[in-house]
């Protein structure tokens, strides 16, 4: 059971000045090394004394991991760039406003000043059974305390549940998937680039991790291609407390239109599964169609196919359906239906 102690268990602290030094440390300590970006997820775990790494690798001193820079007509955002820096970057705001909107929807100003985009996309599940230290599937146990007839699972998954029903809490993740971003990962063997939608994984693949990052891996940057710059964007986040909360459901879409016809579109939803869900089948169904209420209704119905709500999160099904409808129609056409 989680107990807030305020005093963290002892660990050896490293503050490498370069990516190479960080990667070398990760290679040396492997699964014993805990990577800390802004610390907003890490300090919860450490102060609750649920995670007890022997080595903590603080990335805050690595300057090359910070900043937004142009790359091949698109952008490269260092993984340690704060959410506030992402929100305020003029190029992001002008060409990829869906990302600045998503980043601005995350948490509170203080948290955005400290929290990084790399941390935001790599943060762990917020299921309170898991965060409380219960030995559930995600913690290496053999049960899911949130998927029982009496569990409190209002915020949990309606799609893709596989034993664990926790959801991914990131606000920037669906925006990055909609923008067809790529994640740059370094380890001692070199660098690899992973599409954003493949960066996030569900419990069926690996029930103890939310991303493809393995011990020794370091997310160094996020690349956003030019392909979707200046597209019609839609981002919406529904949460209990509008001022500061994790998403119940959020959605991000990027569409290129010819008149009112959808030429191409990417849509991603988060808060409904253990990973942000790209709605490829919806994208395929609406491509070439008019952006009108009929298309939006069809897309909404299609999006929720296969949804299996738990005891207390049935509301997420119409919520997701309506968000998809609104994303298809765009801001000017957004309406709600029960």
């Amino acid at each position: 059971m989680a107990v807030i102690h305020d005093i963290m268990p002892a660990f050896e602290l490293f503050q490498p000045p370069t990516v190479e030094a960080a990667v070398a440390l990760l290679d040396r300590y492997g699964a014993q090394g805990w990577v800390m970006a802004g610390g907003l997820d890490s300090f919860d775990w450490l102060k609750d004394r649920i995670k007890r790494p022997s080595v903590l690798i603080d990335l805050s001193q690595i300057k090359e991991l910070r900043g937004v820079r142009p790359l091949n007509g698109g952008l490269e955002i260092g993984a340690m760039t704060t959410l506030t820096e992402v929100v305020r970057d003029p190029v992001v705001r002008e060409r990829y406003s869906i990302l600045s909107t998503g980043a601005e929807a995350a948490a509170s100003p203080q948290i955005r000043n400290q929290g990084t985009i790399g941390g935001n996309v790599s943060q762990d599940a917020r299921c309170w059974y898991y965060r409380s230290g219960w030995k559930c599937y995600r913690a290496g146990g053999n049960t899911c305390y949130a998927d029982t007839p009496t569990a409190i699972n209002r915020e949990h998954a309606i799609l893709g549940a596989d034993r664990c029903v926790a959801v991914n809490p990131s606000d920037t993740a669906p925006a990055l998937i909609a923008l067809d971003a790529q994640m740059v990962i370094r380890n001692s063997k070199g660098e690899r680039v992973v599409n954003a939608e493949d960066y996030f994984i569900g419990p069926g693949i690996d029930i103890m991790h939310m991303t493809v990052l393995q011990p020794g891996d370091l997310l160094t940057a996020i690349r956003i291609p030019a392909a979707w710059a200046g597209a019609h964007f839609y981002f919406e986040k529904v949460r209990d407390r509008p001022v500061w909360d994790f998403p119940l459901v959020n959605i991000a879409s990027a569409a290129v239109l010819s008149g009112n016809r959808i030429d191409r579109i990417r849509i991603a939803v988060n808060g409904v599964a253990a990973h942000p869900v790209r709605l490829k089948h919806v994208e395929d169904a609406v491509t070439g169609k008019l952006r009108d209420p009929a298309t939006a209704d069809m897309a909404g119905q299609l999006a929720i196919q296969g949804a299996k709500p738990l005891q207390h999160n049935g509301y997420k099904v119409p919520l997701m359906r309506n968000l998809v409808r609104r994303a298809i129609r765009g801001v000017e056409g957004a309406t709600w239906a029960s």
């Binding site: 053999n142 069926g204 690996d206």
Partner: protein
Amino acid sequence: MGIVEWARSPWGEEVPIHIAFYLIWVCAIAGLLFMIVHAVWARYFAPPDAYADSTPPAEAARIPEKIARHSLAARMFHWVMALAMFVLLFTAFLPRVGIKFPWVTYHWIAGIVLTVSIVFHIVHATFFMDFWSIWPDKADLAEISRRRRSASSLPRRDAKYPFANKMYHAVIVLTGIAVTVTGVFMMWRVRTPFFPRNPYLFGDMTWGLMYVLHGLAGVGLIALVMVHVYFAVRPDKFEITKSMIFGTMNKEFYLKHHDPERWVPESPSSSERM
């Protein structure tokens, strides 16, 4: 470093949750070592392949050229079970050693196939086969006793199944029952079309013990399957393996290794209870 991992339940009990996963490697290495040691022994130290008894020529002449050993139903069961077993082992343990894929659905489907095939085999073996032929009998025990008294004497020929084969079968029965019974109950922990998920079917301790038993049987099957495949591909056992494919073994192999008084030969067309 124990063989079981423990956790504290929400009610403060220390409960087992599963086996320690290093046992996967322990069993894989044990299986590999067995194969290496046996192969070296068989190549350099094993006594000649000779038996104390033989069949008189007149009697041998009456024995058909092909002796029926496994019926089509028995062979189909064996290969379906083998396929299910491989799927189960790969889906269970590859993700644990770093090869990630969505394994749960494949695992429980293969588990159902294995369970159904085992139920079929029990019914088939009980009512349509010579049930006792695979179990150690008095003659096996007498032979063991005789050879303990006189280690230098040649062994007598086997019945339908050699004693080691019978013992292997007995161990497979135990592990198979353990893994399938626990596996069927564990299906209540995952989402399947068959019944509503119910993690409260048992208490945490019972569930934990079930996971541990499932895991122990599972890792045990790694070694057992490795050993089984090893013997199946050994040249000196290949006639037995062929009989599991084609249903028959040849007369020469039969007369050399099997005692017609303990395993009455039947030609393929006349065999019913195999």
